[in-house]
Symmetry: C2
Subunit: 365 residues, 2 copies
């Protein structure tokens, strides 16, 4: 692989077979539970990879910005912006609403009243509910706030209430399947309680929920109509630590040239830093880890090399701690393959990437 | 300013007057100490801002990758790549060496022997010395390693040894001017000791040293011929915490739309996350801080708003903690200005930016 791909600088490598496996699994799970599958495309940000989802019958997607919605609108005509509506981008909203089914997320009256006044085309509206993450969304007990928004929406010719949208981001604090399942079921309880208050009034209402940890390990989606996982397409070390995936499910790695070696510290210096990986990190047994080195194989990579990890990152430098007995196997002018801590951030930084077969994949830039 | 700049999404704002002030100060300091000033351009990564340096007579620069060297070679003909030579990019090295004065950094025999074999044009070579940071460079007591490289260089028709290059990155661990000065003087001692061994053999040898903290606060550059600070052009909250600059010296801020508000938590949610700021953070009195909010003024910004800071970042979301008495002054559809923790990383993520006068500045993409 090393020679075939002609790596000369930090390069994001994707194992297409692992990626397709992850997509296929989630598609099957959604089918099994009669769930609308609306994958979140903020992780891969690529039209080509979007096509791999289309091959499995996926027709609707979620994104986290209007910029992404605009990029994907070239090939997708049903897009949810799972982010509180940024009314400063009303021109983009109207332009998108004029050509695709645009589903916006709202959680405050200011945005709804602004949209009511400035929309020129029809949009669908999800009301965002905070199921416990504490980042965005209306607290489920604030029925008055929910009702105020519903009233405004029902009286607006261009906005149609389609359902409640939530994100159980607090599953990211977990470190086991059990924790993920417990958190997810608490979210289900909250959102279903709210749903029960409105079901008769909005029988076709959609409840959209589903982060990567919950969708990866849970088998209970009662009351849910739609899931929106994103990271699962690649997974990463953080998701592994949370309990969402195995190491072999991780579909991306960063190829980084070896530029220096320091035997006295048993450290290898790579061309690959914060501008390639981001500064996301894991703590394992008190040790801070910015990435882990995997064994290169003919067709990609295999297992994680024991006690071999990125211990620090500066702008372009990465420092890898390696066991002293392996030190001499690292050669200046060769490269290492590193599993990222957070694939969403790494992909966003690396932009375009390369499959293990050498296919160039372009992304939103 | 708010209306003039027509902010619709996260936008990097540069206060040109502060930036010019920072450049002018460092140019004067270098002159005052008879130092060659070779600013590091990894921070701004912009040809236009490079022109501002040219206006102050700067003719030589440093960068941290061959990609940056290639970008700046359009307008600069003396560039040092202050990063251990990545021999996998030999084609770029030869192409650059054919058109500009290219100064490479080496710290191991493998790279030197490879260059000796594959160079097609002349390059200048700095030997990198570790003055205590412990990231890259030959330990100053490894005289044998230094001598081996010097012998190879002296016997190579295309490589010319021009001096020793070091980076006192350990000043970044400081939190006061005194600490920075102490660290810097220890580096001076180490590098000058080494220099004394080779001065008679290489009378024109250059000693290149100088990180932003040392160059900002120290007045002792004895034995040094060249300084390479980079971050000083913008500064940031991290440099302020280290002791390099005052808050009013910080020349960049990120404008972020306000998309949600949660009074019960006294938190404001912005469109502005890890993909805009990076995940660099500060710890202040035990509190983790990803950025601080400044007061907007007609021409830019003034003071930091007390007890108002970015407490967390996800991919596109930022959560700002605000004093409850200020809460109502934050309005959906307005935007806030945030000083970044680490301007180098933020600029790299944001790419193009805007001056407070509305001038578009392009960068390496």
């Amino acid at each position: 692989m090393c020679k075939d791909l002609n790596i000369t600088k930090p390069t994001l490598i994707i194992d297409k077979s692992k990626c397709l496996y992850n997509i296929k699994n989630m598609v099957s799970k959604a089918k099994r539970h009669q769930l609308q599958f609306r994958p979140h495309f903020k992780t891969h940000q690529s039209l080509e990879i979007g096509q791999w989802f289309k091959d499995y019958g996926v027709e609707k997607i979620a994104v986290s910005s209007l910029t992404m919605a605009d990029y994907f609108s070239k090939e997708w005509n049903d897009i949810t912006v799972a982010f509180p509506t940024n009314i400063l981008e009303i021109e983009t909203i109207n332009s998108l609403a004029s050509k695709i089914t645009l589903n916006l997320t709202v959680e405050n009256s200011e945005s709804v009243l602004y949209l009511k006044k400035h929309l020129t085309h029809k949009v669908n509206i999800f009301i965002q509910i905070d199921v416990g993450y504490g980042r965005t969304g209306i607290a489920p007990y604030n029925i008055d706030d929910v009702n105020f928004l519903l009233e405004e929406l029902d009286n607006s010719p261009l906005m149609k209430f389609v359902g409640f949208l939530s994100h159980s981001g607090h599953t990211y604090k977990c470190d086991s399947e059990e924790c993920i399942k417990d958190t997810h079921s608490r979210s289900l309880k909250v959102i279903n309680q709210l749903k029960s208050n409105y079901h008769s009034r909005y029988p076709n209402m959609i409840v959209s929920l589903g982060d990567t940890p919950s969708c990866s390990v849970s088998e209970d989606f009662s009351g849910i109509n739609e899931i929106r996982p994103g990271n699962f397409v690649f997974y990463d070390l953080m998701q592994y630590q949370i309990g969402s995936n195995t190491i072999k499910d991780i579909a991306v790695a960063v190829a980084c040239p070896i530029v220096a070696k320091h035997k006295n510290r048993s450290e290898v210096v790579i061309y690959g830093g914060g501008v390639h990986f981001s500064k996301d990190r894991l703590i394992e047994n008190g040790i801070t880890i910015y990435g882990k080195v995997v064994e290169k194989t003919k067709n990609g990579w295999s297992k994680i090399l024991a006690n071999t990890f990125v211990k620090s990152l500066s702008q372009e430098h990465g420092i890898i701690k390696v066991p002293i007995q392996d030190f001499d196997s690292y050669r200046i002018g060769d490269y290492v393959l590193i599993l990222p801590v957070h694939s969403c951030m790494t992909v966003d930084l690396m932009k375009n990437y390369l499959t293990t077969e050498g296919q160039q994949i372009s992304t939103l830039i």
